[in-house]
């Protein structure tokens, strides 16, 4: 439990109430996950908390893909685990198919878990090396008591076929497969009980580009064939753009911008999104060398002691003293419908030159804050 005093959690932050249309598959409402930092061995005293996720809200319709991008440590994986209830959120609500699942017990969660599955980043660590592939893929069916042994076997072989593996490899062990094939096994396992929602936590980050393309194509085909809904987490903006309908950009445990894919990539509003996009190298020698990346100063600050007000202000090229470090920006509508960003001085257009990016009246953030 967090013992953080209420006045420390920025009193100015009042999340706007979520507007629900009623047909959302998943609603994440102001979810927070704080990990305690303790000192002492016997009498553990909480001295601080890591605010890994600090008030994130979004909704997801059936058949939609929400991409979540952000750098390491921005809280995107913690958020995924909170959605799956693998971690208990510190605060906030998670509503799945109209039902609040935030406070369900493990036993109550079990039927819900049939509807949501997860694909993990590391295809080497996420498969038990001592179990045969048939067992690994069939395990969700067994856990939920679906079908007899022979039915499970048939279903597993069907799944192997769906994800493009040889059904005869039923009795092999994970080490007999390559990285891309293992990730296919992870996908087959996630599909086993026909879930509605699949949370993909960096499913292609560990793969080579050609294999990455195979898995991305597979995920898209499966979505089309089975009407799946994805939460797709990645740090690669190109990959997220390829697979997502909507994209959420996270920084230090907060959503800084949410928009439809095309709107976000055509006209990013938050300076952090702009900096991320300008930093992606282009596989084209002419366009690539012509682009001028906005090089951010320093590193992402520690989530134990995050900056005051706007979380991005110590690194922001558009920093305005007395505003950005005093008043916390709220997600507000900018540009086309459904496009929201949390910034006092959003970008006016895209692409921007370095001067335009900096904008008028911007100052260098205070040097003390800039150090790392």
């Amino acid at each position: 439990m967090s013992t953080t005093k209420p006045e420390q959690t920025a009193p100015a932050v009042v999340a706007p109430p979520l507007e629900l249309a009623g047909d959302e598959l998943l609603v994440v409402d102001d979810v927070k996950k704080h990990f305690p930092v303790t000192r002492g061995i016997i009498f553990q005293k909480e001295i601080a908390s890591v605010k890994a996720v600090d008030g994130v809200s979004f909704t997801l319709k059936e058949g939609e893909t929400l991409g979540i991008v952000g750098e390491s440590g921005c809280g995107k994986s913690t958020l995924a685990r909170c959605i799956m209830k693998l971690l208990e959120p510190t605060a906030g609500r998670i509503i799945f198919e109209g039902r609040d699942i935030t406070n369900l017990s493990r036993a109550e969660m079990r039927p819900v878990r049939r509807e949501m599955m997860m694909i993990f980043q590391d295809p080497y660590a996420s498969l038990n090396p001592r179990k045969r592939v048939g067992f690994i893929i069939g395990e969700p069916l067994q856990v939920h008591g679906i079908g007899s042994d022979s039915e499970i076997k048939r279903r597993v072989q069907e799944l192997l076929e769906i994800v493009g593996l040889n059904p005869e490899h039923y009795n092999r062990f994970p080490h007999e497969f390559s990285g891309g094939q293992r990730q296919r096994i992870g996908v087959a396992r996630a599909l086993a009980i026909n879930p509605k929602l699949i949370v993909c936590d960096e499913p292609v980050s560990a793969l080579d580009v050609s294999v990455q393309a195979q898995i991305l194509n597979l995920l898209k085909d499966l979505q089309r064939d089975f009407g799946l809904t994805y939460v797709f987490i990645a740090h690669d903006l190109n990959v997220v753009r390829h697979i997502s309908d909507r994209v959420m950009v996270m920084y230090l445990g907060h959503a800084v911008e949410i928009a439809d894919r095309d709107a976000l990539y055509a006209e990013p509003k938050h300076p952090y999104t702009g900096a991320l996009m300008s930093a992606v190298p282009l596989p084209d020698p002419d366009a690539g060398r012509a682009r001028k990346p906005v090089v951010l100063q320093g590193d992402v600050p520690s989530p134990i002691n995050p900056p005051s007000a706007c979380w991005f202000h110590p690194r922001c090229p558009r920093f305005h003293a007395g505003h950005c470090d005093v008043e916390t920006p709220q997600l507000r509508p900018l540009g086309v419908e459904g496009h929201v960003a949390a910034c006092h001085y959003p970008l006016e257009g895209w692409p921007l030159t370095e001067e335009e990016f900096r904008g008028s009246g911007a100052q260098l953030p205070p040097a003390a804050d800039r150090d790392e």
Binding site: E71, D236, P281, P285, G288, P293, D299
Partner: protein, 341 residues
């Protein structure tokens, strides 16, 4: 004369299962002040090529042949002592993982000083001043305080800066960077690439950049070598390679990239898996996965031949006729290859 001239380099590993031909007849050269990009998927031999040049493979289990002429001197077969005087001095290396390539129990300052004292005959305090200058040059804030920090007190990007500083201590003529930004976030990657570019302008070093990220290669390299299954499949000036790619494998690599500025419904995928280097396929090594495969491809391996009508250096190893190649390359560049297939 090129700074480094690699000719028919072969590196074989003896294993319990047989001989793995990790590098099998690779040739390329690096000019002074230029950047050479080596691209390919995991296991294609790009890292082993550079480890062989540096003499860093296990001597007991490795068989190396061919030439790596460094300023006219063949590095292959030099004694460990001779290599040590070149390594870290004239040729320096940056490794992929900044978390594991610094010694965690020594302060970063003393690790830098050690590298300086190994090759230069100066006092300890002069070496420390030099270390401090380098940390400042690679953009570490408050360098005078942080020089006495331990590696764990630095973030990933900062550690990679320390590694670059360490590689630069003796103003190397050649810097070999093995996936220097793969473990880093994009904004940090932009910082590190920017830094390497500026340092290259300042010190005039040549760089060999090993990476699987075609975006990085397109932006920093002057020349590119595409490796597949221990062999060079295509090489040439960066514009030739990206504007008129001539090998089906290169098309696959370029087509499988989702891009910020292009919409495709399906990505081009290379079917299948890279071959085992214990038993590489007969003929062209790419033919089992190639969608343009012809009968001749499984019989004879094509030579690495000059591409006709190329402006500047461009060579490719493929049996396809030039008309098909140019047609497919043009289709790919327009981004239509994906829809058509």
């Amino acid at each position: 004369m090129a700074l480094l001239d690699v000719k028919d380099l072969k590196t074989y590993f003896r294993t319990d299962d047989g001989i793995v031909k990790a590098v099998d007849g690779v040739s390329f050269s690096v000019e002074k002040g230029k950047t050479l990009g080596i691209v390919g998927e995991s296991g294609c031999g790009k890292s082993v090529t550079c480890l062989t040049i540096m003499g860093l493979n296990n001597r007991k289990t490795t068989i190396s042949s061919g030439e790596a002429l460094w300023k006219g001197q063949n590095l292959i077969g030099l004694s460990p002592k001779q290599l040590r005087s070149i390594r870290g001095d004239e040729i320096a290396m940056i490794f992929q993982d900044p978390m594991t390539s610094l010694n965690p129990v020594h302060k970063v300052g003393s690790q830098l000083v050690e590298a300086i004292l190994l090759h230069q005959d100066i006092t300890k305090s002069a070496a420390r001043r030099r270390a401090l200058d380098l940390l400042k040059a690679v953009g570490i804030p408050r360098a005078d305080a942080r020089i006495d920090d331990y590696p764990h007190q630095f973030s990933g990007g900062m550690r990679q800066r320390v590694m670059i500083a360490m590689a630069l201590v003796n103003n190397p003529d050649l810097l070999i960077a093995d996936e220097p930004t793969t473990a880093l976030d994009v904004t940090t990657q932009a910082q590190i690439l920017d830094l390497m570019k500026r340092l290259q302008d300042e010190f005039g070093s040549a760089i060999i950049m090993i990476t699987h990220d075609l975006g990085v290669v397109a932006e920093v390299a002057d020349d590119v070598v595409v490796m597949y299954a221990a062999r060079v499949q295509e090489e040439g000036e960066v514009r030739n390679l990206f504007k008129r790619p001539n090998h089906p494998y290169t098309w696959g690599l370029l087509g499988s990239l989702p891009r910020l500025n292009q919409d495709v419904e399906r990505l081009v995928q290379i079917s299948g898996q890279p071959p085992s280097l214990l038993f590489p396929p007969k003929g062209c090594r790419f033919h089992p996965r190639c969608s343009y495969v012809m009968p001749i491809c499984s019989q004879t391996e094509p030579e690495l031949a000059d591409v006709p009508e190329a402006t500047g250096h461009h060579r490719v190893r493929c049996h396809l006729d030039q008309e098909t190649k140019d047609h497919e390359a043009a289709k790919l560049i327009e981004g239509t290859l994906a829809e058509a297939s």
